[in-house]
Each structure stands twice: as structure tokens, then as C-alpha cells.
Symmetry: C2
Subunit: 114 residues, 2 copies
């Protein structure tokens, strides 16, 4: 086995995790699944910026997505290296602001209930 390759892959993953915005996203995801629109509401960033952060975390295997209609929900991957799990555990729990798409507590669009 190649040690340098291990270190490089750890570096790649830690660089993804180490960004302030992405850490905050991970902190929110500790509480469960969240839709993209919630991040757009919660962060003082443009929607494309949010989308690109989520893409990077998805590509790194940190999060998984679930699509429901136009909405996309992300959740933490439950198979993460222990050192990543430890980082996420160390993150503070953040206050939840409820987004329209979660107002029902059902995590699905209201329209689908009509």
C-alpha cells in the first residue's frame, strides 16, 4: 500500500470538510435531512454558491442526496471514516429554522399531499 496516496486522500477529504461554510452545512445535517432551499435560506450566500458546496461534499462522499419533485434533500453519509465522524461530532448543534418545504414536518412538498 502507498502511504502517500493515503495521506493525499485524507488531505483531499479534509480540505472539503475544512471550509467554514461546508462545516456549517455539516453541522445542520447532524440534525437530519435538509433540503437545498433551507441552506439557501440559512446562509448569506448565493444559491449557486450553496449548490457548488453541496456538489463538492457529494463528490467527496460526505453526503447523499434524495430527489423529490423539484426539491433535493441532502443527508450525511452514514459510512464515513471515523476521523470525519469525530469532526462532525465536535461541531455545535445549530438552531433549526424551518423552511417552507419542511413546514409539514414531513420533508415532502405540500403539493404532493393535495
Amino acid at each position: 500500500m502507498n502511504n502517500d496516496k493515503t495521506i493525499e486522500s485524507m488531505s483531499d477529504l479534509l480540505k472539503i470538510v475544512g471550509d467554514k461554510t461546508r462545516l456549517k452545512m455539516l453541522a445542520f445535517l447532524k440534525q437530519g435531512e435538509r433540503c437545498v432551499c433551507e441552506f439557501v435560506d440559512l446562509f448569506d450566500l448565493s444559491q449557486p454558491a450553496i449548490s457548488q458546496h453541496l456538489k463538492k461534499m457529494r463528490a467527496a462522499g460526505l453526503i447523499n442526496e434524495r430527489k423529490q419533485g423539484t426539491w433535493v434533500y441532502y443527508r450525511l453519509n452514514d459510512q464515513l471514516p471515523s476521523y470525519v465522524t469525530e469532526i462532525i461530532q465536535a461541531l455545535p448543534l445549530l438552531e433549526t429554522k424551518t423552511c417552507d418545504c419542511q413546514a409539514t414536518g414531513l420533508s415532502i412538498p405540500l403539493e404532493t399531499l393535495k
Copy 2:
């Protein structure tokens, strides 16, 4: 307490840890104290680059230094956040090449023994 500040400080620390070269340095330091000259030998990088990486890790509180004559030895700080300890534990053990300044196994310059 301010959650954003916690996240920001975690981000700052993870950015320091997440660099490939610095991760490799931390992997070497798992085996114990090392002098700067060893890093200069072991890495395919200029001496100033090594020095700057060590400075950042020192400033972040990841490592401690001990000066002995012209030589400077660094070791892991033994009081690190658990999530950092976990990262270091996950690093592979790297082969040790012995440097002149460690040839005695005493970690001190030969000249001081004269």
C-alpha cells in the same frame, strides 16, 4: 456562546491540518520528536517551504518546539482537540530515515558530546 466562532476556529485548524505536506509531517511526528533538518531531507521541498509549514502548525498549536544549539526539534502537542487526535491516529506510520542530527539516537548534536 457563539457557534459561528466555534465553526470558524475548527475551520481554521482543519485548513492547517488538511494540507498534504503538513499531514505527512504530522505522520512523521507520530513516531516522536524530529528536527527540522529531517523534514528538509525527507521532503522534496525547499527549506523555506518546510520552515513555513512548521511555523503554521506551531501558530495553530499543533506542534511544540525545542531548541538545541542551531537545531530545532518539533513534537506533537499532547493537548489537542479529540477530532485532531483522531486525524493523526488515522495517518499511516511512515518509514524513518535517520538524519545526521539523530544518528546517535540521542536527538542532540554530536558536537555537544565532545
